[in-house]
């Protein structure tokens, strides 16, 4: 369902972020993306969410070449891809409820249907009792979970997460990973970018490893191998 076809991305000034990346993620698959910081993990996520466009090659979702889409179609692509950001990207002066409801409001949901979906999403991440709080009053882990609830509230078929456990303790990291697994089990494709190798080793999912913009490993990570 997600396919990178000889994708390269270089920035003005000659910095090459990605070099001829090829991979596929099937529907309902859960995949980790790892590598040192600067290896190109974020760039891959940005290409999928159309924040950046590839210099060469094609990024395809469901066999549709993203580079062929017009600027005005970008919002509709983003509605199909739920993204969880490392720095949460929440609206700090709106309540948790409003933050999670935002994608639904954008799609034109109102009233009971919207409230029902927001509550369901908040319930999944265990924050139903915090819906009237402002994000500032929440801990880092809770803010991360609000971000997850927002990403899944309109049930996207593809879920991207950028360092979702970046600054959380192992206990919380495991909880958040369980949330992702739960979504994966209902058929959502999940791509998690992380450099938490211990987590990857425990979870034993297919792992894409990047090094300086190249893909150096695609498959199960051998547990002992130092990166």
């Amino acid at each position: 369902m997600l396919q990178f076809d000889h994708v390269s991305k270089s920035y003005p000034g000659g910095f090459v972020a990605l070099e001829r990346i090829n991979f596929r993620i099937a529907k309902g698959e859960m995949v980790f993306l790892t590598g040192h910081s600067g290896a190109g993990k974020s760039t891959i996520l940005k290409l999928i969410s159309m924040i950046e466009r590839p210099s060469t090659g094609r990024v395809m979702i469901n066999n549709i070449d993203l580079s062929r889409l017009k600027r005005s179609q970008v919002p509709y692509v983003r509605r199909d891809v739920g993204i969880i950001y490392q720095n949460h990207r929440l609206l700090m002066n709106h309540t948790v409820f409003d933050n999670v409801a935002l994608p639904l409001v954008i799609e034109g949901f109102t009233g009971k249907e919207m409230v029902k979906r927001v509550h369901a999403a908040l319930d999944k991440v265990g924050l139903l009792d915090k819906q009237r709080c402002l994000p500032q009053t929440l801990s880092g882990g809770e803010q991360q979970r609000v971000g997850i609830a927002r990403a899944v509230v309109n049930k996207p078929p593809l879920l991207l997460a950028d360092e979702p456990t970046g600054n959380l303790d192992p206990e919380l990291s495991r909880d958040i990973m369980r949330v992702f697994e739960a979504f994966n089990q209902v058929g959502v494709s999940v791509l998690v970018a992380t450099h938490d190798l211990g987590l990857i080793a425990r979870m034993r999912y297919r792992t894409l490893t990047l090094k300086q913009g190249r893909m150096i490993n695609d498959g199960l990570m051998p547990v002992q191998e130092p990166l």
Binding site: I61, Q73, Y76, D80, R89, L91, I106, E107, F109, N154
Partner: protein
Amino acid sequence: MSILFSGRASGAKANKINFIRRFVMFFVNHLRQALFSLGELWRTPGSSLMTMAVLGLSLTLPTTLHLLVKNVQQVSGGFAKAAEISLFIRDSATSQQVQGLKTILEGDPQIAAVRHISKDAAMQEFQQASGFGAALNYLTENPLPDVLVVLPLHTEPAAARALQQQLEKERIVEFAKLDLEWLQRLDAVVLLLQQAVVAIGLLLLSAVLLIVSNTIRLSIISKREEIEVMKLVGATDAFIQRPFLYTGFWFGVFGGLLAFLVTEVLLWWLRGAIAGISDLYQSDFRLQAMSLQEFGGLILLAVLLGVIGSYLSVRRHLRAIEPS
């Protein structure tokens, strides 16, 4: 609508919310957004009030000038009778001849009315009005002529002048006098005023556009992060720009109302002075206030300016903000 996943149910439409409900919700949503924008203005009263005040005061000047022109036109409309032709009768004519001419003229289809001012009546009026009073009693005979005052049916300058020339040929008429020039001058001055109003109005309106668009620009910049987040979760430009357009709308509504209030206060202020002047001129002139239509026009204009100013800014600056 999902571009990537053709089978994917997405959005309110795909979730089978029926048409009528969606139609109603469209308006409810807009109302909600309008009220939300109003709330935003309420939360930042300082800058909002400034913008509304600038808009309102800028609109006050053209509005007041417009009312001024309207009132002057009303006054000059009352001067239609100024196209009267005065026929000064020769001394040699008898009063029978004068009456005869008056009857003939009254039958003329080009003439609306004829009034006879006899020598004696003219003398009396002159004595009362001129202030010479008793001094005139020393005159041995009345030097004033009989006068027939003719009001033409067509008071336009050209028609009135033709009639004047025709009447001057009457045998007992010494000469005919038509006082048109000052009326033409007044018309020219009114026209000049009108054009000045249009020019000043246009200048002020463009200033208002720039001010609104700059205020909205600042508001967009201050919400940069929020806009990025909205774009990231799939908001279209139309969705993001709507609150800003409503902000412009409210600027217009309140600016227009302010302009109306200030103009009313100005009129009230001037009313006393104008009553004094019109008393001196023994005229029953009353200052005309704004009509309901004009009030509606003012508010509509203000709202248009607010929305267009906001749109100009939104179109330029929303595109520039992209998440990174």
